[in-house]
């Protein structure tokens, strides 16, 4: 199953299962999940608690490996990769935006944006320029030397978005990115995602808020570790 099926595949899951064993209980968080996210798409992943959203996000973000099945990022099979290779893939191809921003408190804005570059075997020479451009792009060009605690929630999330983009990743994963923000700031952040989508970025937004889901181009609804529905965003609130 896929979105509009027009672009190159960015993330492909084939018959992916993720099973957790809790003592004698076996929990299937994802069960025979197959899907393909394509370049330039903007998806909202929705579902109730326990539907498998977080598990899907962890697998897509290469933080976890499937118990069975195959997962490819830009054609690279990740399910058999060792920890180092998986970290490398994550560093190159995935950008994370978290609900609670997850900036590193001892680093300033510019350094926080550059953190993913620190972990590349050969960091790009233009890293600082790139970080500066992104800081300006998200409207924080005048707060470069500030530490996270000196920024508002919305500003911190902008830093996190800039950080997610520093390696020009194949996939930007946002996990309840507006969950900690007031409605006005949330709209600003969603506008920023819209702009990034307009620039051709592939975005996957995990949310349980229909209003946020509406802003995405497509919606993937999960239930019990399976795909329950695939629809355009405007159909969500209907």
């Amino acid at each position: 199953m896929s979105g509009r099926g027009q672009g190159r595949p960015v993330a492909e899951l084939e018959d992916v299962s993720r099973v957790y064993r809790l003592g004698e209980n076996v929990v299937k968080a994802l069960d025979g999940f197959s899907f393909r996210f394509e370049e330039g798409e903007y998806w909202a992943v929705m579902g109730s608690s326990g539907s498998g959203k977080s598990t899907l996000l962890n697998l897509l973000g290469c933080l976890d490996r499937p118990t069975s099945g195959s997962y490819r990022v830009r054609g690279e099979e990740s399910s058999a990769m060792d920890d180092d290779a998986l970290s490398d893939l994550r560093s190159r191809e995935i950008g994370f935006v978290f609900q609670s921003y997850n900036l590193i408190p001892q680093l300033d804005v510019l350094e926080n944006i550059m953190v993913p570059l620190f972990y590349q075997d050969v960091p790009p020479a233009d890293g600082p320029e790139r970080a500066l451009r992104l800081a300006e792009r998200v409207g924080l060009g005048d707060r470069l030397g500030h530490r996270p605690l000196e920024l508002s929630g919305g500003q911190q999330q902008r830093v996190a978005i800039a950080r997610a983009l520093i390696n020009d990743p194949a996939l930007v994963l946002a996990d309840e990115a507006t969950g900690n923000l007031d409605s006005a700031t949330a709209v600003e952040i969603l506008n920023l995602f819209d702009e990034l989508h307009g620039e051709g970025k592939t975005i996957l937004l995990v949310t349980h808020e229909p209003a946020v889901g509406e802003r995405a181009e497509n919606v993937l609804r999960l239930a019990d570790g399976r795909i329950a529905e695939v629809s355009r965003a405007r159909e969500v609130g209907a």
Binding site: D83, D84, S91, F96, Q106
Partner: protein, 423 residues
């Protein structure tokens, strides 16, 4: 590139540590005191050992020293006057000097308990009647004038050479050479003075004396004017001692022959003397014993230092384990942003090493200040060898690596998903 990345990791590590300044400062204390105690104890031990070894070397490591010792048996007598005859004899000297193979030369020394006076200034140094080769055998150094010569002995001249302390005490404002001093009831012309020597046990002043020191006169002169009898008057009795020689110093041709000559001396004295009124001192044996003592001291010191550094290291590990738990979420974030396990290991290891090296550097400063203070206020000799701070620095870095590895490994093996969930 790797250097730049390491520098950045160190910079970030320092910044992380500065977020909790007090905790970081307290964590370094264990290593700080461990390292400073290592340096201070090494410096004190080195100083004491060097002093002892130098003193022994001054005795002459190729010398064998025979000394007269007053027998311990107390002959109870109600007589008010008694004569006690003991100690080394001129015959002993002749046997050692002339018949022992391996003995290059030997010098006889006789000690006279007489007052030395110049004008109103007087003191009771060791007045030693000896021969000209005393200077060469004992390694003493002339300060001014000349030492005793053969002609002085031959002519039984009334000349003397003053030790440094005696010269300084009797002639504080003038050169003593050419002046006459009174020894007992006779006047002696000062012909030279010696440089100071390391104070030995035998040089300790008698109770009530401020100044110790030596005055040298020709052997024959001593015998002529003072005889072999020494009279000591105490309340209620007059003790007379007849001692021909107080000391014989034999210089041996090779260091490896010293034990044989010493054994021969012991055998000879044992045969010739009916009671144990002598002792044989072998500086080489003392030196070896001092070196052995130093080795044992170093082992004890190493153990104490090891324990204190172990405690310091455990303190650091404890804090780092708590830090790893506290920063679980940060570890998750870094892993999500692409950090490999080795990056996490490096990050926490660098922080631990920064803590321990920081403590180590402060410990080196404190450790070098303590010996300086001891030297200044306690008048003890201390030596900070260049290797001590280097060793201490190496140890502190090693403590950081050894005790940082486990917390860093704990951080690195965390599941990124679990770490991100950590509140």
């Amino acid at each position: 590139m790797i250097r730049g990345s390491l520098l950045r990791t160190v910079r970030l590590g320092v910044r992380s540590l500065l977020l909790h300044k007090l905790r970081s400062a307290l964590t370094t204390l264990g290593v700080l005191f461990g390292v400073s105690s290592v340096i201070a104890m090494l410096a004190i031990g080195e100083g004491a050992s060097e002093e002892a070894q130098e003193a022994i070397r001054r005795l002459g490591s190729q010398n064998v020293i025979l000394r007269s010792v007053k027998p311990s048996d107390n002959q109870v007598t109600d007589q008010t006057t008694r004569v006690l005859t003991y100690g080394l004899t001129h015959d002993d000297f002749a046997r050692v000097a002339e018949t022992f193979p391996g003995v290059v030369r030997a010098i006889p020394i006789r000690e006279l308990p007489d007052e030395v006076r110049f004008g109103s200034r007087a003191l009771r140094p060791r007045v030693l009647a000896t021969v000209p080769s005393y200077l060469d055998v004992t390694g003493r150094v002339l300060h001014e004038g000349r030492f005793l010569e053969e002609i002085d002995d031959r002519e039984v001249a009334n000349v003397c050479v003053l030790g440094y302390e005696v010269a300084r005490h009797l002639f504080p404002f003038q050169t003593p050479v050419g002046e006459k001093v009174r020894i007992g009831s006779d006047y002696f012309t000062v012909i030279g003075t010696l440089l100071p020597r390391v104070r030995l046990g035998s040089d300790r002043p008698d109770p009530g004396e401020d100044v110790t020191g030596e005055v040298f006169i020709p052997l024959k002169t001593g015998r002529r004017w003072f005889g072999d009898m020494i009279l000591r008057i105490r309340s209620g009795s007059r003790d007379m001692e007849e001692v021909q020689l107080h000391e014989i110093v034999a210089e041996v041709d090779l260091a490896e022959n010293v034990p044989f000559v010493a054994a021969a001396c012991r055998t000879m004295l044992d045969r010739e003397h009916t009671e144990r009124d002598y002792e044989v001192v072998v500086p080489l044996e003392l030196l070896l014993r001092a070196q052995e003592t130093k080795r044992i001291f170093n082992i004890v010191l190493g153990s104490i230092a090891g324990i204190s550094l172990l405690v310091g290291g455990i303190g650091i590990m404890n804090v780092m384990l708590a830090t790893v738990t506290e920063r679980t979420r940060e570890i998750g974030i870094r892993r999500a942003l692409g950090a490999k396990r080795r990056h996490i290991v490096t990050q926490f290891l660098v922080e631990t090493v920064v803590l321990s090296i920081g403590g180590g550097l402060l410990g080196i400063l404190l450790g070098m200040a303590i010996p300086a203070g001891i030297e200044r206020w306690a008048d003890m000799r201390t030596i900070v060898t260049p290797t001590a701070p280097l060793l201490a620095f190496g140890i502190s870095a090693g403590v950081g690596v050894v005790f940082g590895l486990y917390p860093a490994w704990r951080a690195a093996v965390m599941d990124p998903v679990e770490a991100l969930r950590h509140e």
